[in-house]
Amino acid sequence: MAAEGWGWRHGGRRAWALRDLDLVVEPGERVLLLGASGAGKSTLLHALAGVLGVEEAGEETGRLTLDGQSPRGARGRAGLVLQDPDSQVILARVGDDVAFGCENLGVPREEIWRRVPEALDAVGLALPLDHPTERLSGGQQQRLALAGVLAMRPGLLLLDEPTANLDPEGVREVVDAVGRVLERTGATLVVVEHRVSTWLPLVDRVVVVGPGGVVADGSPEDVLRREGARLAAGGIWVPGHPPAVPVRTGSAASTEALLTASGLSIGRGTSVVRDGLDLVLPAGSSVALTGPNGAGKSTLALTLAGLLPPLAGQVGAEPSLAAGRGSSPHRWRSRELVERVGVVFQEPEHQFLTSTVRAELEVGLRATGRYDDAGRDRVDALLERLRLTALGRANPFTLSGGEKRRLSVATALATSPPLLVLDEPTFGQDALTWAELVRLLAELLAEGRTILSVTHDQAYVAALADLELVLAPGSPFASRSPR
């Protein structure tokens, strides 16, 4: 692949996503493409896969070629795997999904059904061809997408943060599968990723791009030695440059409980996901809920937060949390709940209600009739604290991933609830947003608030949690102290 002075500007934007890019990748090279958020890395991968402009129009300069041709005409030469596992599954059965790309390239039927099992085998998905794709885990979905691309026999494999939304188990599955595929096919690899260590064992070249083209290029050791600190400052997770976080000294938590659960059965709808759960959330503590996917962590957190009713047993709020209401959070009215428990959802977009950032922070205060002068001051202070002041009039849906995350936390804080429940707060976040979030939560804990987090992120657990509760399928809680 070769780029000469290549650039792209999205329709309706003034700034170029990427410009003046000069880069040549030889066949068989394995390249890790790094750059701060918004440096145009994904744009380059989309262009190489020939799909730039599918979602929105834009303007192109310079030349970008694949085997000497325009990528649009060379579809199938480059195979692209994207970040979001959910939106890459196309058909209902595993075999059909893998065959989809081959069909589009006009591969004869007999040849397709030779390639499909081969591709599934290469990514380590030992499933029947008629296995329903909706029953796959995130890691399996990503490997299925990889198999679908692989069956097209691409010379160039393009991976756009394929592991950002996966739990550690899923990340391992996908990286192993890619390694096996490269060994078998000798394909060229270009992978974009915030977490350098994930792909370091597989790549032999690191390229750093910025909006003005290539910033650094060379062997992984070389580039990371020279550029490591600068990359880390730009939000990349670089080994040896962990984000700076305040050290949480000892536990300020009292032994008094804020919320308890006894004999609790949880589930969405009527089917029980887990039963017989007992736990105590000490006031002022930070508790992390960890465990593999499908163990019911999110369901448990939402049940404790009073959003889902317990299917059996009970959740009991102590008077310090209930503040004059009954002890069952799920019986509280919505506006009583928002003053007692702040919930941050995994997908920030699910919780946005209004068309400006500022109005978003006013929602809870207005609902509880507290949007007076003090309320206005409180919103101003929150905007300031979460560095959102300049974005006060922006539409929440147009924010960057990090900004959306900060806003979703801010909305939960506006009514100053004593308990904060967060579902995967650090999923897919770059190192800068991550460090910012951890600092903010540490401040909240110092103020005496209680935090319950559902997370896969061990660095987050180490930085913040006083207590880690491990929820594994089929076994009772295991609790451990991270420090």
């Binding site: 020939g50 069909e103 004869p108 329903p132």
Partner: protein
């Protein structure tokens, strides 16, 4: 929840090309709808039940699936009995309500006709796998693959929308706005879902194009969509049953053309 879950069953009817199933439904429904009489519809219902039995459909789940039809048909018939055009002896008269010889006949005909049209539709569609239907539409009927496969892939998103909707609902309770104004909240939630849906659709389109969808090369099909004896027999059964019901009505003199 999935709209796209493959329909699974071992009976032969599951393997009949979906295009043939729809092609068999058409003449049958048209024939039954042409006339407003009880005999033709009854012939069709009896014939349909016989054909289901021959096709090996006797399972409990099948009856459960058609249960709504069995419940809805008498309700439709009841309203026709009460409000239908009056003629002959009057049995009950209560304001606008009346039960007469004529309205009783129309009521019975309505029950039979709802069953005659809805039963085969529910049963045949329950045995259609959306993927196979798409294959049939594109390969047998030669509808444009861009349209057919786009719709098929979009159908898969419905399951995700259901999940999104639940999350949106929980989030509104968590934000403190779920106590009042239910109608406004649902509208607001629908708009939010639409925004998410458009975004998901865009991502899916990108993922499909990344796999060469809608490219310059002529497309091949991994799954054949055969159209042979079983398909011809299916269509013939539907057509024959439709004609038989019309013939019965004409022979017995109950024919009552719908437009007169």
């Amino acid at each position: 929840m999935s709209v796209l879950a493959p329909a699974a069953g071992r009976q032969r009817i599951y393997r009949v090309n979906p295009v043939a199933k729809i092609a068999a439904l058409l003449p049958l429904s048209v024939c039954v709808l042409l006339t407003l009489d009880w005999l033709s519809a009854c012939v069709a219902v009896v014939g349909e039940l016989l054909l289901f039995a021959v096709a090996g459909l006797r399972s409990r789940s099948l009856w459960l699936r058609t249960l709504p039809v069995w419940l809805a048909a008498p309700l439709a018939g009841l309203s026709m009995t009460l409000y239908g055009r009056a003629s002959g002896t009057t049995y009950v008269q209560l304001g606008f309500l009346h039960v007469t010889d004529g309205s009783l006949a129309i009521g019975a005909a309505t029950v039979a006709r709802v069953l005659a049209v809805a039963l085969p539709a529910v049963v045949l569609f329950a045995t259609i796998d959306p993927t196979d239907l798409a294959d049939g539409l594109a390969q047998v009927l030669r509808l444009p693959s861009r349209f057919v496969l786009g719709a098929l892939a979009g159908l898969r998103l419905v399951g995700l929308f259901v999940r999104d909707w639940r999350s949106l609902e929980l989030a509104r309770r968590a934000r403190g706005v779920a106590d009042t104004g239910r109608l406004r909240r649902v509208l607001n939630q629908a708009v939010a879902l639409l925004v998410l849906a458009i975004r998901r659709g865009g991502k899916l389109a990108t993922a499909m194009e990344a796999r060469g969808f809608d490219g310059p090369a002529p497309r091949t099909w991994a799954r054949p969509s055969p159209f042979g004896t079983a398909e011809v027999v299916t269509i013939a059964c539907g057509t024959a049953l439709g004609l038989a019901s019309v013939a019965a009505a004409l022979a017995a003199g109950t024919w009552n053309f719908v437009l007169t």
